[in-house]
Symmetry: C2
Subunit: 248 residues, 2 copies
DNA sequence: AACCATTTGTTCGTATGTATA
DNA sequence: TTATACATACGAACAAATGGT
């Protein structure tokens, strides 16, 4: 009963229709299924993946819901076009300058801010004492009305008192830091990983459950090497790719 | 019935216990759950995530199966230490030099090789004519007996005839390139994304279904800027993180 | 030893979701 | 649409192991 060439797995906590939906997404990403063109008929897909036609239908229904496909009775199911943003990441990366040319409108929205004691990890990154007060900003990056990033950022509360107000007003980290005498800064280190989006990410970026996010954990420093900012950013993998430029 | 603080989602194709397992993995990664220490009791986890204790138990069972946790009746459930490899990625990254100090044994296994006509994308990257012959290498990177990467690499067949033999013999891209007079090379560009592992990745790297892979697409060039290699590499997100070094 | 609280392990039952035919 | 099988999730017990008092 199981298709020989089938690569879907049962009993692993991910339902078949979700796995098929992911396979279709992969097929679109890899060019197997061209954009703005019809998908193979449900029967063909069912055979290709070694599942029942109903299972394919569930997968397609989910992707239609997610805005990836459009189904038309009697005609077929079509792949809608959706290009990913290419987000440059390097020593001098800035949110707004990075996306120049790709979008017409972008900014960072401040979702919330708070002051809290620094955890060990944050204290070490910022070079302050553990438990010292830090300001945490929760932000969402937007481009052309779509959320393209979701970040949590920590600053030394003593050094950057009131930065949340500056952030809310300017909508830019770079501009806010200028008010504290920081005219330039570098990305000292970045650690990159990936995971499923959590509920917060899903809500903040309007993603579908099961979406994958790229996660960067970065420390920004002044030109003198003084750490000023510690940040974890999440990028939806379906909308954004990260580009490492050589000379950046 | 639904926990207020719950951040898991139902009816999305991913079972609750799998989501809880992912949350626990996240907790370990973020330091919420310390390594070599007891996890909170099942009851506490169930309450924290707003699910039944059985659901937490299913998640724990999966993670025990995956070698992440160890459960002991009457004592608790413990987080085994399993540091993720931190894989440096930058202009001068090399597989074996990059992991120095983190593992005792590493090499690249050549899974298969073939010669094929270049697609448009590969031809552009390598600066050759579309349809010209290219050598494709399928490789697996291993460290301490565990697969940590799976890559597909293309070389100009005219310029690097026989590189598959050199690769099989030396187990190193860098050493193989030396035989063709390339003593040094740079990573010109890297594009980073993430997706679910496909069947091939799962089999080649012995991953659990649903695993996430980091994907890099890179072009390597000689010091003169001549493109020599086009590669797509997949790294299991649960075992590897990518580190962008500032000066690299 | 006896007892206790804590924590994991097991077994019922019941309801709902998923997948096939 | 219906039927069937299995997986998932919850709830309420009870059993077994551990580390104390």
């Amino acid at each position: 009963m199981v298709g020989l060439a089938s690569s879907v797995e049962r009993r692993n906590g991910v339902s078949l229709w979700r796995q098929i939906a992911d396979k279709i997404l992969q097929g679109i990403a890899s060019g197997d299924f061209a954009e703005n063109a019809a998908l193979p008929p449900e029967i063909a897909l069912a055979e290709r993946y070694g599942v029942n036609r109903h299972t394919v239908r569930s997968a397609i229904a989910a992707l239609v819901q997610e805005g990836v496909l459009r189904a038309e009775q009697g005609r077929g199911t079509f792949v809608l076009s959706r290009k990913r943003l290419s987000y440059p990441i390097g020593a001098r990366t800035r949110f707004s300058t990075g996306l120049q040319g790709q979008t017409s409108e972008r900014h960072i929205a401040l979702l919330s801010s708070s002051t809290e004691p620094a955890t060990k990890r944050i204290a070490e990154a910022l070079g302050i004492a553990k438990g010292a007060a830090v300001i945490r900003l929760e932000t969402r990056g937007e481009a052309d009305g779509h959320a393209v990033s979701r970040a949590t950022t920590w600053f030394d509360a003593k050094r950057f008192a009131g930065i949340e107000a500056a952030m809310a007003e300017t909508g830019s980290i770079t501009a806010s830091l200028k008010r504290f005498g920081i005219n330039d800064y570098l990305r000292q280190s970045t650690v990159l990983s990936a995971r499923h989006a959590d509920a917060d990410d899903l809500a903040a970026m309007d993603l579908q459950p099961g979406a994958i996010v790229l996660v960067t954990v970065a420390v920004n420093v002044t030109l003198d090497g003084e750490p000023i900012q510690f940040a974890e950013s999440r990028f939806p993998a379906e909308r954004v790719e990260l580009r490492l430029s050589a000379g950046d």
